[in-house]
Amino acid sequence: MEKLPNSLGLYKAPKDTRVVVAMSGGVDSSVTAALLHEEGYDVVGVTLQLYDYGAAVSKSKTCCAGQDIYDAKKVADAHGFPHYVLNYESNFRESVIDDFADSYMRGETPIPCVKCNQSVKFRDLLEMAKDLGADCMATGHYIKRTTDETGRAQLHRAHDHGKDQSYFLFATTQEQLDFLRFPLGGWSKDKTRAEAQRLGLLTADKPDSQDICFVPHGDYARVVKKIRPDAEDPGEIVHMDGRVLGRHEGIIHYTIGQRKGLGIGGGISDNNEPFYVIAINTAEKQVIVGPKAALARDLLHVKDCNWLGSDGTHTDRFITVQTKFRSVMTPVPARLLQKENGTAEIHLDSPQYGISPGQAAVIYEGDRLLGGGWITGAEKNMNARSAA
């Protein structure tokens, strides 16, 4: 046994430390793998074949994910570590794509990346890594992992807040986290690109991926429609006061908080205020619109919570936290009340707008990620503070 831990926090020489690196074919995970290999670790690169890009939008079978797999393989070959492709198409379909479509059908706004991390990457792939005798698994996510004095792993927002991916990793369990490593958590994207250049990676100049990986050109409606053909049932656009303002071509085209593209003329009310989507009534296939003020919410209900650094038992008292309910927002102050059955209430200090069921409410204490849950509902409850 080594006296000092290696850079992955394990008391082993790098050459005796097997680390499976989840390689997407992009620059971040390429750098992660190549760096660890350079440090002398027993690196095993794995790329997941998750979906058939062509089949997502049409009936023809093509494979555009093929380029990313090819790139990952080339990086591994160039640096001389083994690389494998795992076909997780059926797991991904069951755990991520179907859920994505169903969520839209319920009038929600899903986050498939969380589901993918939660199931395919950190459940199935992580299990495979353990089966291969790996000591840990590394990814190219921008999130910081530290350990406390007892050796317990914690997650913190990435050093580069603009790149921080903690929102998408809130559902990582303590057990998964103990096995995971995120070597880029303390880096900026510029540093990663510079390292990619230094390492001579062919992925060094690859653009960042923007969209949801299985949704070509951001056209999610097309993907949902293919899986759930009734997704485009038309219906009414109704004002909160009951007036029918127009018709729509399927609730999947609407998200709570949406202002543009409502398809009701100028989209403004009598007193010149723009309309926003306030709610989606899936049973009546109605899109409910109203003024921005009607979007204000300060009490969020969440379910299926994951808490890091606590044993998961609920407490009866509020704790002061910050929360994010969209990946690109600055955390806002709130008070958290953990409840039974993995649910919780999040009381926002000031009302927020455009909170949609299906999204995650992620909880922070400063930069530390405490966990979070899936939003089931949100309400305006000005008395919440006194109820506490």
Binding site: R18, V44, F81, P82, Y84, N87, D131, L132, G133
Partner: protein
């Protein structure tokens, strides 16, 4: 990662030294066997020497050998000759037969196999009786299981009902005695690289039916049956490998000993192991088995990381692991089929290779003990 134990002969065998020497010699000069000058004549001589050697491998006359690029071409050549005619093929054929048939005719039927992976002769006869077929395609030895098919009975039945018999002999060559005339095979296809010859070379061996299927047009090479400048070096290597196979006929016995050791140990490490075709006739050195709980994917990677090369059923071109068609046809349940891995040995396999496999395998079984127990 050390890569020093090769146990994937059914995918491709290491090049025999005799084949390498013949290849190298043939590549030393520009031999176009169609040219009349001395270089050309030398090329012709190399080809004809190889032709006699390959013919000897299947007890044929040299004139029956048409050299080509390998068995995938050979299978396509034969099947294309029967375009739009009725073809019966076994449910365990190689994709180069299966897909070629689907591309050439809509009028085909699959001949089922028994649970033991052997062609169901009764079913074949019923199929032949119910509607006349032009061609019957059944391989001599299955690539995944190593199970030997009753080719004499198949050809007898095919001929009884007026059909011709095409036999993919890729995995049989060099492992069991092949006698094209005695077995009544009308078309036999071979690949050099499975017997220690070079890749990209093979032969279509014509039987007694007298038909010569054409596939590539544009030249008089190979009696006009296969256009294109001959792959002189490849053919030379093929011939040398064929000769070496016949010179070391006793090697199957050694492989049988290694295989017994392998299978005994596999069953000892995990009593839940299923060895496919255990009660059927198999060629020595091919073992397809599952240990429920250890997926083929995991096993392949774990062994590869220890420097041991094996395969899961038939390799997929993209490197993806897919469930075996052969096991599906044998009625093996999906959960077991997805765990099937193949160890295949050949001319250069040593006891040390088997021990290297077993040592890595033992490690994996210990690591996945919980999963094996949960699935037993």
């Amino acid at each position: 990662m050390a890569q020093n134990t090769y146990l994937d002969y059914n995918a491709t065998a290491p090049l025999r030294p005799e084949a390498l020497a013949a290849l190298r010699d043939a590549l030393m000069a520009p031999h176009n066997a169609s040219s009349i000058h001395s270089f050309g004549r030398m090329g012709r001589q190399i080809i004809e020497t190889a032709r006699a050697r390959v013919a000897a491998l299947c007890s044929a006359a040299p004139a029956q050998i048409i050299f080509n690029s390998g068995a995938s071409e050979g299978n396509n050549t034969v099947i294309a000759h029967f375009t739009n005619q009725r073809i019966l093929l076994s449910a365990i054929e190689h994709p180069s037969v299966m897909e070629a048939v689907k591309a050439c005719t809509q009028n085909f039927a699959l001949i089922p196999v028994t649970k033991e992976g052997v062609i169901d002769l009764t079913a074949l006869e019923i199929l032949l009786q119910s509607e006349p077929a032009a061609l019957v395609c059944v391989m001599a030895v299955n690539n995944e299981t190593g199970i030997i098919q009753p080719i004499n009975e198949i050809s007898r039945l095919a001929h009884k009902y007026g059909a011709l018999y095409h036999c993919d002999g890729v995995q049989a060559a060099g492992r069991i005695a092949l006698d094209i005339a005695a077995s009544g095979i009308d078309f036999l296809t071979l690949s050099a690289h499975k017997i220690g010859g070079p890749q990209g070379t093979g032969a279509l061996v014509l039987g007694l039916c007298g038909l010569t299927p054409h596939f590539i047009f544009g030249g008089q090479q190979e009696k006009g049956a296969r256009a294109g400048t001959e792959n002189v070096a490849g053919i030379a290597g093929f011939g040398a490998a064929a000769q070496a196979v016949l010179a070391y006929k006793g090697s199957a016995k050694n492989l049988a000993v290694l295989q017994t050791r392998l299978e005994t140990e596999i069953q000892r490490h995990a009593p839940s192991a299923i060895i496919y075709g255990l009660n059927a006739l198999r060629v020595a050195g091919t073992t397809l088995f599952s240990v429920p709980g250890i997926s083929a994917e995991t096993a392949l990677m774990a062994l590869d990381l220890d420097g041991v090369a094996i395969s899961s059923g038939s390799a997929c071109s993209s490197g993806r692991v897919e469930a075996s068609q052969t096991l599906k046809a044998m009625g093996v349940e999906k959960n077991h089929a997805s765990c099937a891995i193949r160890v295949s040995m050949g001319w250069a396999t040593t006891p040390e290779d088997v021990e290297a496999f077993l040592s890595s395998w033992r490690k994996l079984c210990i690591r996945l003990e919980g999963k094996i127990k949960a699935h037993a």
